[in-house]
């Protein structure tokens, strides 16, 4: 039985990296998106520049489920290295398109799938002679064929090509030619062989297709970040590259040609965050972005910024650890390392964006929070969110919005003081003290910032009580932070249900889909999306209102569950781990199965 579905399937492209396939595959994804059909494209790529296997998967969902579904309905197999693996992974009833210039080996004998043979190399070489062009256009030929098989009008894809090559119109011509070759071949030899189809829709609406790193870079730009220290590392690199690209467009003074920002590529991550801290201390909005090992290298400095109370923003685009791990695979496994980063009693504010729209919002908000709280704020993105396009709400900036620079003393403020000013003196009782920027006043407000213990007046001290007072005040500030960070999002599927689930970040889409599926089998699970750490009271209240709470996350050790148990405000027995950590994004099926099994086991135990 062939799978027959409209606007609801998964197509995967198996390629060799460095062969130009990414832009071709993206072209098809964009075309479907522009037809108004919600998509979730996902790039599975190696830590390599050329020659290794890479896959590009697009989930198409009219209903708008944007998590990874799992399973593949249609595969375009153009990488000989992985042909067998790709052949085997097609769902029963699915489709297998391959380059039939070389015959499929005899042992490929599945009868439950439809094999679509297209002699891509032959068609390409007959038409084009330039070897470099041949490699690129072979990709466009299969895009043409797939478009025909999925009933996408040729003209729509041609328009997408014209848009892509707007700046290089010369290249558009051979691309459109290649597209037509593939399209015509598929029409002539495989008409009616594919049961999957794309039909234009209005489901996308006003939404945009953007990656999280672009959104985070824009968020920093809009929030007024001026000093960036950074060190290139996958998958966070493009946060800074985007910031710089847009800053060069929108932040250069028209008259002088001078930049109202600076981006310093440092010698390592230690220097990268050191630069941000120096700038934050001096009153500029400063940030850095990093991943995996970079976070480990930044820990000492994070401790300094926490203890000396210096605002900085860190965008942590998480990848698979530990150590070098899988640099091009995704995980949410830096929760504890970020929350408690650095030796001694240290706690950092974390924000958990779920999509690019929130990456923009939360990165922008992180600057206000960092300034208000005078402490590092870490935006917890991940590779899935950061490096892949996601369908999300269009970005918006309120032009009336003012940057909250927190408690900063001007020369006039210092002048007006009747009591001596103390950098670490808690005047307002919220744990947040008043700071000065260097150079503010000739004889007031200067002090030495230090990572050594200090008293209320910033003087070095080894007096135990003074140290303890400072550490307690920092806890007071932590409680203030609790009131300022984004609140959780709670959805009650059934009042009185004693089962709940909580999730955060990029687990959101898959989790909601899984809970929808469970609801359709009459299992009602209330849900909460955590958006920040420190946790508010309502996070604990929600948990305590339920008998069991599934904590869904993408790491092995249930780090969010550990963090939630840390405050001792919930009984750890209530929390049940649902985890996934193989480096690919979590899917609804994985979540549904684990919840199902857990509920079944619980029932068996109770009987």
């Amino acid at each position: 039985m062939k799978i027959r579905r409209v606007n609801d399937f998964v197509i995967r492209f198996a390629n060799v990296n460095g062969s130009g396939s990414a832009s071709a595959n993206d072209l098809l994804a964009k075309t479907i998106f522009r037809l108004g059909v919600p998509i979730n494209p996902y790039n599975i790529f190696p830590s390599n520049i050329q020659g290794l296997p890479t896959w590009f998967e697009v989930r198409i969902s009219e209903k708008g489920y944007l998590g990874r579904r799992g399973g593949v309905d249609f595969i375009v197999a153009v990488n000989g290295q992985t042909l067998r693996q790709d052949y085997d992974m097609v769902q029963p009833g699915g489709y297998f398109l391959y380059d039939s210039t070389r015959k499929l080996p005899d042992e490929y004998r599945r009868e439950d799938i439809t094999v679509i043979d297209i002699p891509l190399t032959r068609l390409c070489n007959e038409e084009f002679s330039d070897p470099r062009l041949q490699q690129l256009l072979k990709n466009i030929i299969y895009i043409g064929a797939v478009s025909a098989l999925l009933d996408i009008p040729l003209d729509t894809v041609s328009q997408a090509i014209l848009k892509q090559f707007k700046k290089k119109p010369k290249l558009a011509k051979p691309n459109i030619q290649a597209l037509k070759i593939g399209f015509d071949y598929a029409c002539a030899h495989h008409s009616n062989s594919c049961g999957l189809s794309i039909r234009s829709s209005t489901a996308v609406g006003d939404r945009i297709l953007m990656d999280g790193n672009t959104a985070a870079g824009l968020g920093a730009l809009y929030a007024g970040a001026t000093v960036v220290g950074w060190y290139p590392i996958t998958p966070s690199t493009s946060v800074i590259e985007t910031f710089e690209r847009f800053a060069n467009l929108y932040r250069v003074d028209k008259e002088s040609g001078k930049k109202n920002f600076t981006v310093i590529q440092a010698e390592d991550e230690l220097a990268a965050i050191g630069i941000a801290i120096g700038a934050g201390w001096s009153g500029a909005r400063a940030f850095t972005a990093t991943s995996g090992p970079g976070l480990s290298l930044m820990t000492e400095f994070l401790g300094l910024a926490y203890f000396a109370e210096i605002p900085i923003v860190l965008v942590n685009v998480q990848r698979c650890g530990p150590s070098t791990g899988m640099p091009t695979r995704t995980q949410q496994a830096d929760i504890l390392a970020s929350a408690y980063s650095s030796h001694g009693d240290t706690r950092n504010v974390l924000l958990f964006p779920r999509d690019p729209h929130e990456c923009f919002q939360m990165t922008a908000d992180a600057f206000d929070l960092a300034d208000r709280l005078q402490t590092p704020v870490i935006v917890m993105s991940d590779l899935d969110l950061g490096m892949n396009n996601h369908l999300c709400e269009a970005l918006h900036w309120d032009d009336k919005r003012k940057y909250d620079r927190g408690k900063v003393m001007s020369a006039e403020d210092l002048e007006a003081l009747t009591e001596p000013w103390g950098r670490y003196l808690d005047v307002d009782g919220d744990g947040i003290c008043y700071r000065t920027y260097p150079g503010t006043h000739p004889d007031k407000g200067a002090y030495v910032t230090r990572g050594t213990s200090h008293n209320e007046y910033a003087a070095y001290t080894e007096e135990n009580q003074a140290y303890e007072r400072g550490m307690k005040r920092l806890m007071g500030k932590w409680n203030t932070a609790r009131c300022l960070v984004p609140r959780p999002e709670i959805t009650i599927r059934k009042k009185g249900s004693k089962i709940a689930a909580l999730y955060f970040g990029t687990t959101t889409d898959a989790a909601r889909e899984a809970l929808d599926q469970l609801e359709s089998s009459s299992i009602f699970i209330n849900e909460m999306r955590i958006r920040a750490y420190p946790f508010q009271k309502e996070v604990f209240d929600f948990i305590n209102q339920h008998d069991i709470v599934f904590v869904i996350e993408q790491n092995r050790d249930s780090q969010m569950k550990i963090l939630l148990s840390g405050g001792c405000r919930v009984s750890p027995g209530r929390l049940i781990a649902v985890t996934h950590f193989n480096g690919l994004p979590i899917t609804a099926i994985i979540i549904r199965n684990q919840i199902h099994t857990a509920l079944l086991n619980r029932k068996l135990k109770q009987q």
Partner: protein, 350 residues
């Protein structure tokens, strides 16, 4: 040892052009060992800032970790300071300077802080040619952990309790010259006159001014067998050039009798006059500056003075083209592109 500095000063104490006495440039009382070379350097910094009429609050002092890095507490009490983490002063200084280019940045570090744990940051801040004075108080040992050899300890040199150093030493001045610092000098904490002139010129220079000052550790490394001891340095010190620093606005009155002086104008208009006592080495050429250092080393001499100077040196701001207005003073008006542009950005993602 004194624990508190007397607040009383002579009513007729000398005042500088700003009307400040030396007192306004002093810091807390030093807690370093009596006789520590570092205290002489702190004192030289105080004199330099006082005599140059610098406003204390327009100076930022930064340091890493170690005995040397404690000294910012002992000078310029009215200046903002940042005692950062071990070996990381250069990155913090970079950030602070990029945020506000209008202040004067003085970084203080030691040989452990710079030549070992912080050598990467040192090399790169030099390469960026950040506009700052970078002082290394160089005693060839780790004082605060009681006398272990540092990476600048010369091969064969021996501390109070140690055995002769078996590894090659790192010459920070040579590294600074190679790396792109616009101003490189070496002094000795026992020669205050030279130190003062050198630091004045360093402050006037735009770009990274690296000043390595041999500063004996009286507790652990001041024995005759050590090449960082007072006696050894005094016996082996050789001035590369005699030079005078003539601040901008001051009449050039220094009298060089032999007439072989070369004036080099610094960015702020002040002049360094180099008197060529030796073979006419050109200190504005990297290759000859390094050759002189190596030659002196062969002869077991410590070359002091301004070793290298690039009068056309361009600092980080100039290279990167940042605004002349300090970035930390900008507001939504200069920084936020607004929602209309964001709508256009949205469109390019459709």
């Amino acid at each position: 040892m004194s624990y508190v500095r007397s607040a009383i000063r002579h009513p007729d104490a000398e005042k500088n052009a700003l009307g400040y006495t030396r007192k306004e440039y002093e810091g807390a009382i030093s807690s370093l060992c009596a006789g520590c070379g570092h205290d002489s350097i702190s004192s030289a910094i105080i004199t330099v800032c006082f005599e140059m009429d610098l406003e204390p609050h327009r100076i930022v002092k930064l340091s890493g970790i170690g005995c040397s890095s404690k000294t910012p507490a002992y000078f310029l009490g009215k200046s903002h300071g940042f005692n950062s983490v071990h070996g990381r002063m250069p990155s913090v200084a970079t950030g602070a300077n990029m945020a506000n280019r209008d202040l004067i940045y003085i970084g203080v570090s030691g040989d452990g802080d710079t030549a070992s744990i912080g050598i990467g940051q040192f090399a790169h801040v030099v390469r960026r040619n950040l506009n700052m004075v970078y002082i290394v108080m160089n005693n060839g040992c780790y004082g605060l952990t009681k006398g272990q050899d540092s990476a600048t300890a010369d091969k064969g040199s021996k501390t109070k309790k140690g055995s002769p150093v078996v590894l090659e030493s790192i010459d920070l001045c040579e590294m600074a010259i190679q790396g792109g610092a616009g101003f490189v000098a070496r002094g000795f904490s026992g020669d205050k006159k030279q130190m003062i002139m050198m630091l004045k010129a360093a402050i006037s220079h735009t770009g990274l001014a690296f000043v390595d000052i041999v500063s004996p550790c009286v507790s652990f490394n001041n024995v005759p067998s050590s090449t960082k001891s007072y006696t050894w340095v005094r016996e082996h010190m050789e001035a590369s050039h005699t030079f005078d620093f003539i601040p901008y606005c001051q009449e050039i009155s220094t009298d060089y009798t032999n007439g072989k002086t070369t004036p080099i104008t610094l960015h702020d208009g002040s002049t360094i006059k180099i008197c060529k006592v030796k073979n006419g080495t050109d200190i504005t050429r990297r290759s000859s500056a390094i050759a002189e250092l190596e030659k002196a080393k062969e002869q077991q001499h410590i070359l002091t003075g301004v070793l290298y100077l690039d009068p056309d040196s361009k600092d980080t701001h100039e290279v990167l083209g940042t605004s002349a207005i300090p970035l930390n003073s900008m507001t939504e008006k200069e920084l936020c592109p607004g929602n209309e542009l964001l709508a256009k950005v949205n469109d390019s993602f459709r």
